[in-house]
Subunit: 360 residues, 3 copies
Amino acid sequence: MLRAIFSSPLNALLLAAPISWALAWQVPGSPWVFITAALSLVPLAGLIGLGTEQLARRAGPAWGGFLHATFGNAAELIIALVALRNGHVELVKASITGSIIGNLLLVLGLSFFVGGLGRRSQKFHRTSATNTSAMLFLGVVALVMPAVFDLSLYGSLNARPPALESLSFLSALILIAAYAGSLIYAFTAQRDLFRPTAEGGHERLFSTGAAVAVLASGTLLTTVQAEILVGAMEPALARFGFTELFVGVIVIALVGNAAEHYSAVTAARRDEMTLAVEIAVGSSAQIALLVAPALVLYSFAIGRPMTLLFNAFEITAIALSVLATAIVVVDGESNWVEGLQLLSVYLILALAFYFVPHLG
Amino acid sequence: MLRAIFSSPLNALLLAAPISWALAWQVPGSPWVFITAALSLVPLAGLIGLGTEQLARRAGPAWGGFLHATFGNAAELIIALVALRNGHVELVKASITGSIIGNLLLVLGLSFFVGGLGRRSQKFHRTSATNTSAMLFLGVVALVMPAVFDLSLYGSLNARPPALESLSFLSALILIAAYAGSLIYAFTAQRDLFRPTAEGGHERLFSTGAAVAVLASGTLLTTVQAEILVGAMEPALARFGFTELFVGVIVIALVGNAAEHYSAVTAARRDEMTLAVEIAVGSSAQIALLVAPALVLYSFAIGRPMTLLFNAFEITAIALSVLATAIVVVDGESNWVEGLQLLSVYLILALAFYFVPHLG
Amino acid sequence: MLRAIFSSPLNALLLAAPISWALAWQVPGSPWVFITAALSLVPLAGLIGLGTEQLARRAGPAWGGFLHATFGNAAELIIALVALRNGHVELVKASITGSIIGNLLLVLGLSFFVGGLGRRSQKFHRTSATNTSAMLFLGVVALVMPAVFDLSLYGSLNARPPALESLSFLSALILIAAYAGSLIYAFTAQRDLFRPTAEGGHERLFSTGAAVAVLASGTLLTTVQAEILVGAMEPALARFGFTELFVGVIVIALVGNAAEHYSAVTAARRDEMTLAVEIAVGSSAQIALLVAPALVLYSFAIGRPMTLLFNAFEITAIALSVLATAIVVVDGESNWVEGLQLLSVYLILALAFYFVPHLG
């Protein structure tokens, strides 16, 4: 357990958790509750990732892939489930958007940039990158059609016809089925489309029992901190003048993907670009094909249906990110200028989200 | 002739033709007239394809390419001409959309899926696939601009300014000229961009005379059945609660492309992926660059101008299909998961078309 | 100086300059002033290019790249600056659009077409082409977001919220920073992403002093002719029934890019396709990432802010051109049919721009 905690310098941020409890108890309306809860989620996402990694290592590529699929984006999923239960539908959609564009532009961009500095260019395996881009594009289709539906039939994105719920529900099932197909392929072809298991990564740090313990306590603590985060959001929004859209797309996504950031960028620095690309692009695909549809199904289960109807900014941002990624990875080569380009795209999108006023 | 009929198990469906005649005579308002006429068109499209194939085999690659260009999508073209003459403009546009997305997603997806089962991956020639994707993209541009025109100038897709007709007419001429250019290239470079003639396919089944006879009788019978189909559509729509849009995009397109389906999937199963990809993508390009503009020109000739103004669902579906295909074929490699992805995209688009109410 | 003038047959058009002066003096309202001023700009753009080329040749790849970056699209930039100072914001945006799509579709299309005639196919270096496509895509993102902003928040492209100005200004800074990054990469990696400096091009024609003189007088004369052109536009528009949009997208862009046209097409004819592709695609990227943002910053400096909000036609045209280019260059191979396709896309877009009425 302690070994897990000392495995990364980021884990010093775990100290933010007790601070957030103290603040939530003493000054419940303070924006600092939100900030400390957010900070504490960064190492927690990393610990869940580490526990998964350690278990996956013992489980072989097939079951390992399955574990990654289930717990790979656990932090994002938990935060979203808590937000959904508290009725913050727009925040959930925004955080889905932010996770996808964050992984594609920020994580991949930083990996290209940091990895490329001092090198003329870096190569990576393009087939798997292209495969995952195709997977992502399927997610784009599922997210675009409800908006086309609404816009073309009702002239706005505010109509809520019942067909939209059916379309979202069935699309979610199709996405999950496609995702399950890729897991079966990983089982049979002994190749994980989303995450490489053989190369790179951590060595075996601790026993199976300890790994399960890390995973369990990480998941539990993440849930607690997510509750505090969501509960403390209102005063923080008011204090900083942020919208729920901006917090979801930028802040929540940054927090939830910090672990991916760290792994991908360090891999890129070691010139293991195939690993870095697969972490970034694979994680995005998991959000689009597993996390987002799972949230839709959960929302139907709790009787507060969330559709796959995203707003125009979110759709444009996701579509542009996926196309930018497809263009950048197609040649299997990167350099730091390409990283800079992806980061610039992220910055422009983030600015646009920042300037969107409260959508009322 | 009999040899042609016994060449494929699908031809048993020819029996549906006389049944449709009996039904149309006895119970003219029954939806079964529509169903049997639709079923009978499946083998007819195949017979026209077979006759073309047999003639093309004798004609060498250049003239063979020309024959394929003219008769390759004859069934779709005949059904559309009949529908156009009877004033079903929306049905024609929907069937153009359906043929393009059906070939790109359903035919290609099934080919990847069926071909990939039990194999780790399959390879195909990527240059020709990319060439044809570019050709298809030209079609996308021609179909998108009228909608941009209408939407941005008039705020809706219901305006019908005269400029739209001029734009559609001239765009149709440009598309046909570009298509003619590719035929000339095939003549001079001895390479058919759309369909491979050398590898795979049927051996010489019968004499030139018999091939012409198959072609002629297939074309004639297709026209008859198309008339019955279009005439019997209204009661079938009412009975099943389908819209003209859904029937055009899904049903008519399935019927008209059944022959391509069969050839592509069997080629994929034999691991001849280059052939399978070229049938699927090449057939889509023919629809966009030859069939669609030919229908526009015909509509102007009969004095009931059809523009290239498609609705938002059709444009989105076509654009997403072309981009999905471009992303999938770019690496020259496929596996059954990629097939599953394309099929999932098709399913989501089909669902969206299903949920569109009568557009009034 | 004379040597520079006799270096290209296009320079005979320099005679149009004094004619435009005479006409502007004698018959100031005549559309011929506009025509002769436009014609005179063709060789001037070429002379600036030649002067830059000659200086760059002495300066080595790194500083040469910087010179190309600064003076590469000087003619377009000067015309746009003059138009901006005279308040023709729509003309400036239209000419930016026209330069991007003109380079991608017309210059590249003609290069593929003319280069490919009589050849089965031509090869080029695909990594640099894909790199530059990614760069271009960044430009697309910056141009699309303001429109999404306006459309989704205000339901039209006519709203002018203050956030739009901030978004445009900051996006312009980001674009220029990304462009600067690529220059630094060229300095350090000794590779110019935008223009090849080693192969092809002219030999050393004249001394450094003469090159500077050519550059200076070319720039000065271009400014004079741009003033005449912009001043004489109104009567010409009225005479030919053109809109400012059409003149900007087609006429001004043709005039400003004539030099690129000539260099790219002659390179393609010599089978130096890597050079031709880099001139065409690189010049577009320069417009999007340097010229357009520089104009935005200049407009803020003179107190008449121009945003990056383009109209729906312009955005669609740019996005479609970039995607078409990305699809066509991805395989590193071209033939004349691909050229014909790009030209067809250009023609369809030009037709659409022609049919757009005065946007009021």
